[in-house]
Symmetry: C3
Subunit: 149 residues, 3 copies
């Protein structure tokens, strides 16, 4: 069973937090872009939520998160298109309860088989990350998409 240590950020320096967050996102986005649905969903907490710009309500829980990615991966494979999530401009705000507020920019780059890459979407990502058993996980994510009214 996962135990969320209270205020684990308190025991870490800023540079440790910041580099661990960057490494976390690198792995997290690679799993997503590789279509590794279950492994990706495991980087959320058990009750983790993800509010997509196109949805009214957040997706919640690993099974639902994994199912969504599996569907997207199948659709992209069918279309012969590779997506890459390039997350940059990470701003980490440690909170009193030991969680981390993290804001970032995310470019989604799409490349069709045999074709040229294009900048598909430009998003802003607002996460709450927590440490569980020493590993970072996403407890809450809200993504907004530039160009939306």
């Amino acid at each position: 069973m996962s135990v969320e240590t209270r205020a684990p950020a308190a025991g870490r320096t800023f540079e440790t937090l910041y580099t661990e967050v960057q490494q976390f996102y690198a792995r997290h986005m690679r799993l997503l872009d590789d279509g590794a649905a279950e492994a990706w969903a495991a980087t959320f907490t058990a009750d983790g939520s993800f509010k997509l710009p196109s949805a009214d309500e957040p997706v919640r829980g690993r099974a639902t998160l994994a199912a969504g990615v599996a569907r997207s991966a199948a659709a992209l494979a069918e279309a012969g298109e590779q997506h890459r999530h390039v997350l940059t401009m990470v701003e980490v705000s440690p909170r009193e309860d030991g969680s981390l507020g993290v804001r970032s920019y995310a470019q989604i780059i799409a490349t069709p088989r045999g074709g040229q890459p294009r900048l598909h979407l430009m998003c802003v990502c607002s996460d709450v990350l927590v440490y569980e058993d020493g590993e970072l996980r996403v407890r809450e994510r809200v993504v907004t998409r530039d160009g939306d009214a």
Copy 2:
């Protein structure tokens, strides 16, 4: 009154400097992209200068810097366009006087309301950052734009 401590970099490890610089730029560019003109200008020193590729002379001082961003933000809002400054490839060179030379790449991504994002500009950014009251600030910035003759 702000006091610029002499050689503050000396008391910081490279990993502390490097992560503080990345966090600084994440916040700095978000303020710019949000059109928070005054807060953005406050991340420069009082006499901070900014040489834009389109100008012969640098803009100098917070009031002038803030006025420029306020004008740009109004023009973008009028045009219904969101800009994002994605600064990457940060190279930090600590200097003897405690300031930091920082070179980076900056992509500017523009998204019109209801439309698709496009890569608007690709720039190289050369900054001199200093610590004032424990906070990083831009003392001098020179930006060049790829494609210029």
Copy 3:
């Protein structure tokens, strides 16, 4: 003569490794984009190899690596085009032998003189980095390009 210290990663914390890797890539890619062929090749080990997506066999050794970059730089200068390698999403995996496995994404952005930047290529970069005389160097690189069959 260069001496590759065994397991140098052992003496470094994760945050030190991670920031040194980021700084290394910032300089490494700037040398490449500036066409500084010899200086760029010196950031590989003497027997360093680079497997390009378009080639069947890796390029090996500094002289060959430098010659390749010199040719590319001359061709880009002739065409009046600037390339920028934007390497992000760095995932560092320290290995038992002291080397670092590093996976990352690399956008190549091209800007013609007097024109607009475009996203030219989207790549995945798999490196093995080692410390030699306290400096990071590439011992092995394999790059794949999105869109390839």
